[in-house]
Amino acid sequence: MIENFSHYAFFIADGLRLTLILTVCSLLFSLIGGIAFAILRYQYWLRFAIDGFVSVLRGTPMILQLNFFYFAVPGLLGLPIDILTAGICTLGLNSSAYVAEILRGGIESLPKGQFEAAKTLRIPTWLIWKDIILPQVFRNELPTLVNEYITILKDTSLISTLGGMDLMRRSQTLAAEKFDYFGPLCVAGLYYYVLILVVTYLGKWAEKRWCHDNNR
């Protein structure tokens, strides 16, 4: 039994690379996309377009979006898109919509006077966002953002439906080969769980490091 599990663990570990690359790239994509959406929606002429885009991304299943990027977009563009790119675009964009909403909540919970005070001090708008507003928003919203990134990590498993050899797909392949679902799925679950524990720990560390109360 233990021998089987260690064999499973080695075999499934090969999927770690894809899972991790997909998670890290999607996380960076969603962070940049989320910040851009959150800030640009304060431009009057972009608000409706961004709100509409965010609404569609949040209102359709992620597996549909993944299939759209992998099967429909190449047809539209006439360019093939590999599984990793489709995964990063889907997870990154989908999560951008959620991150934008998290940040919007954080921005709107700050006193309006923070922006006004910075304006009266003649601080350029981009510096107000970078140094005054976003640092406060990230401090307040870090626990919610960590939750979002845990969700990204778990959702990377959707790429297995396209044949991407991630942790999930490796465990399915092994299960089909060995006619044993219990062992491979338990091992894959354990990998995901440990990864999520690491993300949770990093989140808590970041909270302690950056979100100290300052006796506000």
Binding site: P111, G113, Q114, E116, A117, A118, K119, T120, L121, R122, I123, P124, L127, D131, I132, P135, Q136, R139, D213, N214, N215, R216
Partner: protein, 218 residues
């Protein structure tokens, strides 16, 4: 110098400011804006600063205007020193901004709080930091919204002393406050607003003998 010509502002079905015309030209003077709550003092200050816009009328202003918020609006994630130096760094450069900030902190008896965060300060200390932050930008005009609100007697005396020092540098101070005692002790001119309109524009000789003269306009 500030010139306001027939400024009006309506919020919903309420007239917040009605045909306000006012000229403030004397450098190194303190103009008090008095009036009961909801009379339009803060809105007028915000319009002068450009934070709000009037529906009709014009405001002409020369030079840079600093603003002291009623609730301070210090940046809570920055230390006292960072709060004061952050904006001037882009104008004066890092070294000059820090030297200037430390000098202001000394003048305002805040030297020991340079590395403290705003959340660890009392109301009076926050007010002084907010003042230092505004003064660090060398404003030609300083607009103060209720600078004594929520402060104890000692802190109010500190604010009076500091504002009088600022006045001596040639800065025009426009102070909105409902505290007549405070305004009468510091202002060179008091403009009284009621329901969005100027009902009196008075010089010190009017109220020096009897403060109740001001109250009759309320």
């Amino acid at each position: 110098m500030i010139t306001i010509v027939e400024l009006s502002k309506v919020l919903g079905d309420r007239t917040v400011l009605k045909d306000i015309s006012l000229e403030i030209v004397t450098r190194g003077s303190i103009v008090g804006l008095a009036g009961p709550s909801g009379s339009g003092k803060s809105t007028l200050l915000r319009c002068i600063q450009g934070l709000d816009e009037g529906d009709t009328g014009t405001i002409y202003g020369l030079g840079y205007k600093g603003f002291l918020f009623q609730d301070f609006q210090l940046f809570p994630h920055m230390s006292v020193l960072e709060n004061i130096t952050y904006a001037p760094i882009h104008v004066l450069g890092e070294l000059d901004a820090e030297n200037n900030a430390r000098q202001l902190l000394r003048q305002l008896n805040l030297e020991e709080f340079a590395d403290v965060f705003p959340g660890q300060l009392s109301g009076g200390q926050k007010q002084r930091v907010a003042l230092a932050r505004a003064l660090a930008m060398h404003p030609d005009t300083l607009l103060c919204d209720e600078p004594t609100s929520g402060l104890d007697v000692v802190s109010i005396q500190d604010v009076v002393r500091i504002l009088q020092t600022v006045k001596k540098t040639g800065t025009i101070l426009v102070i909105a406050s409902h505290d007549l005692e405070f305004l009468s002790s510091i202002a060179d001119r008091i403009v009284i607003l009621k329901a969005g309109q100027i009902v009196a524009d008075l010089m010190p000789q009017v109220w020096k003998k009897d403060l109740n003269v001001l109250k009759q306009y309320y």
